[in-house]
Symmetry: C2
Subunit: 429 residues, 2 copies
């Protein structure tokens, strides 16, 4: 199975099977990833920190041990807002240049415990907000990779690593994944432990993954959260009930995205899914604005150390966002949380009629230029609803860059989402 | 108003009023606290780190500035599981001896922004769990101060500082406050921002305060969360509806605590409250066991770095607790969260008939010996229900140590809890 692809291109699950079968070593896999990085990093700029020897040392240690899990020997990229005890963690900010945490975040330590290799730190935007960092879209270096999980999306898309951690507070996993043409997965809130994550908005910050296969997204969260392995055996026989959801923000997507998603819905119906339109009305239309209010209130507090001591080292756009957060009253914040809670109940009712919802991943393909990271609008509502979301590459935009479609599952229904999304991906070809 | 009390004994709110009136300097207040610490610290052992010059320097700076908030110039103790950029933070564990974080936790930075003085770090038990540290009960040095906010409770009780941060995952603010005879306040979950707190159980960990007055507890949370100032003007006219709640764990409290709480209920009724018994039956009786399951699942993950790299530096009791957490399945964890959610809805209904509930704070007075920190049983259910709780000193146990009564408010009803608790405190004399 690994013959057709170079080692750096194979999925984590395929690599793990080859490792267990004795057909592959972690060292060879890691070396292939490092070679790809060597070739491409000057162009893509996906990594905040990489030490080839440190990665190879971990790989050789893995090769001396019996497999500890299905992640054994697999290289993993870690977004640079997640602490690592042996690699600097700069949170995408000049305030933390060279900062070395004392301990690994829970998710990093769990990967190590499972036998995984921490390959390096992937570039984050400033504190996982919208202000861009140095990463470029590997499909077209003149375009943004999206953010805030810029480096993770670009590194996975460019086959530098099979899996990388992302985080999402607004649309920071889904958007860059869509822009870079990979699988972005934001789990149900509270599936991956957040100890050691630099908090931005603790009610929303969610650890997730960037991968090239849905199976790999499932693999990672199964190991970390102790979920039973997802069986994809039922995929072929599935007839999913799919709610085609334009969302209240449909007019913020461009014509290419409209056409792409409509075509996808038609293809899914043609492949046997029960597809019908779901209109989210009333308070649902306030979810994006509410996400902005709730997160800003929390930004203002979470970044107090930075905004009071290093205001000159914070970008103008984040400074403005923080200032807005300082004006949100506790009452407004609590009203926002209450609205979100009401909508969570309503969306749970909606899901009685559907296995998954289908929605835009982003307003369009990755914008040109590196002075922005694109608009998060199509992530905001789902993040605030705490639902599991997965973006799949599907179609191309006007300049040939990847487009994505977003598949959203019910709260806590991550395993069912993986299976339904796999069905969707196969139906979309 | 400060004439009857030594400077180190006055409340934060009284000190703040004197500061604003020009009758007191922060330097004098901080110096008085430092002098008390100098006299008593050898006996009480409440502090993990204190640097008198660093504290005085902050105080002098405050005295040069116009008051920034009602916390201006007020010394605050910080539990040593909360990061500080200029003081070591050891999380109560030998693993982190001398550890110096790079940045302040949000709550610490907020106190500084508000003009408060970070006096020093107060002793925590090991990672805010039950394994004791060095602190002694200031009322009787042969007894535990309780845990995990051991140093904060003892320091405030011994008039070394008017306010200190505590945290609560099980009963880590309420229990030590009750044992030390001070006001312990665990806010509604998500009132004080947790960025920079060493996580143990992210679904439950709650920042709170230890103070000697209810007004001071209110003051702190108002400044940090942006709540409007609580008005205590209505207290005298209040006729609170009080649910006397023995809880499903009543038989785990001793006879002295039973008698003390029953007497308190009678006194409150005599003072004009509408007091009636509230029995929490059915699934409520599973809340304590569920809290243990949910928190253990999270302990296992949050402490992965420590348990995999430094197992020999973790106490046997925490090692056992972590191991138990490793055996909790995701399904059991999610069932626990679902049970908690059902009980949160039920308790919201219960609160339609009551302004506050009255319940035990601890099974009895502080146990003798320093090899334990007492039982958290009377905190578990309220923490899992995310409700605001306040313990008030009330009565004495068999050996003359303080007893407490716990007053519980509705979710988000912290301001109403302060007012009702103030009424309760006055009625109890």
């Amino acid at each position: 199975m690994t013959t057709a692809l170079a080692l750096n291109q194979i999925s984590a699950a395929d690599a793990a099977r080859a490792l267990v079968a004795g057909k592959l070593t972690s060292e060879a896999l890691v070396a292939a990833c490092l070679e790809r990085i060597k070739q491409r990093e000057d162009a893509v700029r996906a990594w905040a920190f990489i030490d080839p020897e440190l990665a190879l040392k971990q790989a050789r240690q893995c090769d001396r041990e019996a497999p500890k899990s299905r992640l054994h020997g697999i290289p993993v990229g870690v977004k640079d807002v997640i602490d690592t005890c042996d690699m600097p963690t700069e949170y995408g900010s000049p305030i933390y240049r060279g900062h070395q945490p004392a301990y690994d975040a829970a998710c990093v330590a769990q990967v190590r415990e499972a036998g995984g290799v921490i390959l390096g730190k992937t570039v984050s935007t400033e504190f996982a907000t919208r202000h861009p960092n140095k990463t470029r879209n590997p499909h077209n270096l003149g375009h943004t990779p999206g953010g805030s999980s810029s480096g993770s999306a670009a590194a996975v898309a460019d086959c530098m690593v099979p899996i990388a951690f992302g985080t999402q507070t607004s649309s920071s996993t889904i958007r860059p994944a869509a822009f870079c043409g990979v699988i972005g997965y934001k789990p149900t809130f509270n599936l991956i432990n957040r100890a050691g994550l630099k908090f931005l908005s603790e009610s929303l910050d969610t650890l997730g993954t960037l991968t090239r296969t849905i199976e790999d997204a499932a693999l990672m969260v199964e190991v970390l959260a102790g979920l039973p392995p997802t069986s994809f055996a039922t995929v072929a026989a599935l007839k999913p009930r799919i709610g085609f959801c334009r969302t209240p923000y449909w007019d913020q997507a461009d014509a290419a995205s409209h056409a792409n998603l409509e075509r996808a819905a038609q293809m899914l119906a043609a492949a046997g899914a029960a597809v019908s339109e779901v209109e989210l009305t009333g308070e649902f239309s306030k979810l994006a604005a509410t996400q902005i209010t709730v997160s800003a209130y929390e930004f203002f507090r979470a970044l107090t150390h930075e905004r009071t001591r290093f205001p000159q080292l914070i970008s103008p756009s984040l400074t403005a966002r923080i200032a807005a957060g300082g004006k949100v009253t506790r009452t407004q914040y609590e009203e926002g949380l209450a609205l979100a809670e009401r909508c969570r109940k309503r969306i749970a009712d909606t899901f009685r009629g559907y296995d998954v919802l289908l929605a835009p991943s982003a307003p369009g393909e990755a914008p040109s230029g590196l002075d922005g990271t694109g608009e998060p609008i199509f992530g905001l509502m789902w993040t605030l609803l705490l639902l599991p979301c997965l973006t799949l590459p599907c179609g191309r935009g006007p300049t040939g860059l990847p487009l994505g479609v977003q598949v959203i599952g019910r709260h806590g229904g991550d395993a069912a989402l993986f299976v339904a999304a796999e069905w969707v991906q196969r139906a979309l070809g």
